[in-house]
């Protein structure tokens, strides 16, 4: 009888020990997993493919375009090319003519180009618009708020956003005409295809 009790308590202690070890290991593994996930996410706290593009509102400064301000959420229902650029940036300058070339056609197909300039002064933007006769909306982020919102690093940086406001593609660096048209086709709203 006493032997049975002893065996019983031994069994219990053994089980408790196993549970204790299991809990300690689980907590440790959970902490490590959390650390790894957070670390993996750290690299792209910026909005990426599949995310909803965060809303913003900026002054439109292109005199060739009729809009005064643009709020991104107002463009829902359209595919949006959101381009971050500056006048002094060579690869930005290189892709601008392509954008202008495709704009009239794709505008009718439900696509809007929104080019946010990260320049410090407005006159340089106007000079640039004049040089290339740009007609799509150019926004001026004078307080660098939208730049901070999207955590823009090197430019050009381009987001292709579908009609539901979801980021479909993100391009770091310059675009060629072919690639640009490819992306346009991708974000073109269904109804306009």
């Amino acid at each position: 009888m006493r032997l049975d009790n002893a065996n019983e308590s031994k069994k219990n202690r053994k089980r408790n020990r196993l549970i204790f070890r299991l809990i300690v290991l689980t907590v440790l593994v959970a902490a490590v997993a959390y650390a790894l996930i957070m670390n993996a996410k750290k690299g792209n706290t910026i909005y990426g493919i599949g995310d909803q593009a965060p809303d913003f509102q900026l002054q439109q400064v292109n005199k060739n375009n009729e809009l005064e301000t643009i709020q991104l959420s107002d463009l829902e229902g359209k595919g949006v090319m959101l381009n971050f650029w500056a006048t002094w940036c060579k690869p930005c300058e290189a892709e601008m003519p392509y954008m202008e070339e495709l704009y009239p056609k794709y505008r009718d197909n439900g696509i809007e180009i929104v080019a946010v300039s990260l320049d410090s002064t407005e006159p340089v933007i106007h000079q640039f618009i004049e040089k290339y006769n740009l007609t799509f909306p150019i926004l001026y982020d004078n307080r660098k708020e939208v730049n901070d919102l999207y955590k823009i690093g090197p430019i050009p940086s381009t987001y292709f956003i579908d009609e539901k406001g979801e980021i479909v593609e993100k391009v770091e660096g310059g675009l060629t005409l072919d690639r640009l048209e490819g992306y346009f086709k991708k974000i073109q709203p269904e109804t306009d295809k």
Partner: protein, 558 residues
């Protein structure tokens, strides 16, 4: 598994090396601590049963056993050290200089360091310290630390709690300090006890057997220390959460108001003034030092700023509604703090151009007497300047940081920064149909046609400074502080106190005397000398130095 019953009646857990109660070596387990080959007993962990060495059943137990090995822990540390060293061979990706030809790691390393650089990149060593495998390595060290500590602390505490004053004879005569005295009088025995108490030992008595103990809490030093380390590790995990830790950087020009990055558009900063103070070159005390420094020694870097809060953050980019939160100065190591954020002085750029004044004069006027004067504000330039006499100057092109580009064959601006401003002006006069074009910048005044009636010259300019501020929000710092404090408490606890024990074992008319300490053997010998002075007791002999073939190493508990 079987419990082991010692002859003293105490039941020990399996794997026990020395009976928890009387200290008698348990025959079949002596190999565990290597006692079978040596004269002296290995007192590490009191010869208690480290559970990891006994159970090895389920997968959980196997994992536990793996991590509970100090050997595994040491190897993990060695591997982490070697890996960390590899990361210092070439600069990490975040330290690729701003002005590098290409900042893309894929290109930069091969470009700079050749084939080794390429291999370095391919092995992923360019971003070593946040690579997943490096983090796992550090995590494994953390796991090993926790499990090793638990696995040793629990049985050690149990063994120290269980120990009885009455010890087995073998336990005593296999201690490092040991002596046998014969014919000890009752007075001497009494004196012994009195002296031990006087030396502030805690004395326990059992049938004439004495255990005198002092400084047991120093045995917990390593475990307290490990708790500190674990808190530091937890704090560094918390640091990865953007809410608890955020770091960013902002350049602000004097007079400029802009959003503070990393605050979700909630806070704005206005730089009122940036100040650099120098040490006085004429001061006798500093003269030589300043000369050594190359004639310039900064005393203070300071930004006077105003912080605003945007009360309407619903749509970023829209005109903010700003409310002043704080006005103050930021100096090196004296950040400005507001609502959990801190702004640190971290950089500066002197003498950016803020405005430029021009005069308009006639080309053929030898005195270059100004007909008109105007000033261009470079932060937000007006593009047209009209004058009463019908003349009109228009800025056709503005290059904030002018250079002549080889590829484009035209003037361009290298960046946003007004470091080398240049302009293309159009001058309209009532006499001429078409405007005259002239180019003006620092040290440049070009008339492209050579037929211009009017010329433009720079008469004056003003400059401002730009202040670089790092923005930080760190709620984890107190936790790091707590961890470091506990770490230090553990170190002090283990370093400055020793766990000393003296056993007195009556045997017939005589006495067996043995002593053990975890460090400072000299100290305990001194205690014993004072204790036996004036009695017939034999001074203990250090058996480690007397027994020739005894190669026992001194083991610490860590």
């Amino acid at each position: 598994m079987n419990k082991i019953k010692c002859e003293c009646g105490h039941v020990n857990p399996e794997g026990t090396v020395l009976c928890e109660a009387c200290g008698k070596p348990i025959e079949e387990n002596q190999h565990i601590d290597g006692n079978n080959q040596k004269r002296l007993l290995n007192m590490r962990y009191e010869g208690s049963s480290r559970r990891s060495l006994t159970y090895n059943k389920s997968i959980i137990d196997k994992i536990w056993r793996f991590f509970s090995s100090v050997k595994v822990g040491v190897w993990l540390i060695v591997i982490a050290l070697v890996a960390s060293t590899l990361g210092t061979i070439f600069p990490q990706a975040i330290y690729i200089p701003e002005n590098a030809a290409s900042r893309d790691p894929a290109i930069y390393y091969e470009d700079q360091f050749g084939i080794f650089g390429k291999v370095y990149y391919q092995l992923g060593l360019y971003d070593l310290y946040s690579s997943w495998w490096y983090m796992i390595l550090i995590a494994l060290i953390g796991i090993s630390l926790v499990i090793c500590s638990i696995d040793r602390f629990v049985p050690l505490r149990r063994a120290l709690k269980m120990q009885k004053p009455k010890r087995h004879e073998t336990f005593l005569n296999r201690q490092r300090l040991y002596s046998v005295s014969t014919n000890i009088s009752h007075e001497d025995r009494h004196h012994l006890k009195k002296m031990l108490k006087k030396l502030r030992y805690r004395v326990r008595n059992e049938d004439g057997h004495i255990l005198a103990e002092k400084g047991r809490f120093s045995r917990w030093g390593p475990y307290v220390n490990h708790i500190g380390l674990i808190i530091i590790l937890i704090a560094s995990i918390f640091r990865m959460s953007p809410f608890l830790y955020m770091e960013d950087y902002v350049w602000t020009r004097e007079g400029e108001q802009k959003v503070i990055p990393g605050t979700s558009g909630e806070y704005y900063i206005e730089n009122k003034e940036f100040i650099i103070e120098m040490y006085d070159e004429d001061d006798e005390r500093f003269k030589d030092a300043i000369a050594r420094m190359g004639g310039r020694a900064e005393k203070n870097f300071q930004s006077n700023v105003v912080v605003y809060k945007n009360t309407d953050v619903s749509v970023p980019g829209a005109e903010p509604k700003l409310e002043k939160v704080k006005e103050g100065q930021i100096e090196l190591n004296h950040p400005l703090k507001f609502d959990g954020y801190a702004l640190y002085q971290s950089g500066f750029q002197e003498n950016e151009f803020s405005n430029m004044s021009f005069k308009l004069y006639e080309t053929n006027d030898p005195d270059q007497k100004a007909i008109e004067n105007f000033t261009v504000d470079l932060a937000s330039p007006e593009t047209e300047y009209k004058f009463d006499n019908g003349l009109r100057v228009v800025i056709d092109k503005y290059y904030p940081n002018y250079y002549l580009d080889e590829d484009y064959g035209e003037p361009r601006s290298e960046s946003n920064d007004p470091w080398n401003p240049a302009f293309v002006f159009k001058v309209y006069s009532p006499d001429n149909e078409s405007p005259e074009i002239s180019f003006a910048g620092i040290g440049r005044n070009i008339d492209p046609t050579g037929e211009n009636q009017y010329k433009l010259g720079i008469t004056d300019f003003e400059t401002h400074d730009v202040s670089g501020l790092s923005v930080r929000r760190d709620y984890t710092l107190p936790l790091f502080g707590l961890g470091a404090l506990i770490f230090m408490v553990g170190v002090v606890q283990g370093m400055y106190w020793q766990h000393r024990r003296i056993w007195v074992h009556p045997k017939g008319e005589g006495i067996l005397l043995a002593a053990h300490t975890n460090k400072n053997w000299f100290g305990i010998k001194k205690d014993i000398e004072r204790m036996i002075a004036g009695t017939n007791l034999q001074m203990v002999v250090d058996q480690q130095t007397t027994k020739k073939n005894n190669e026992i190493k001194e083991d610490n508990d860590e």
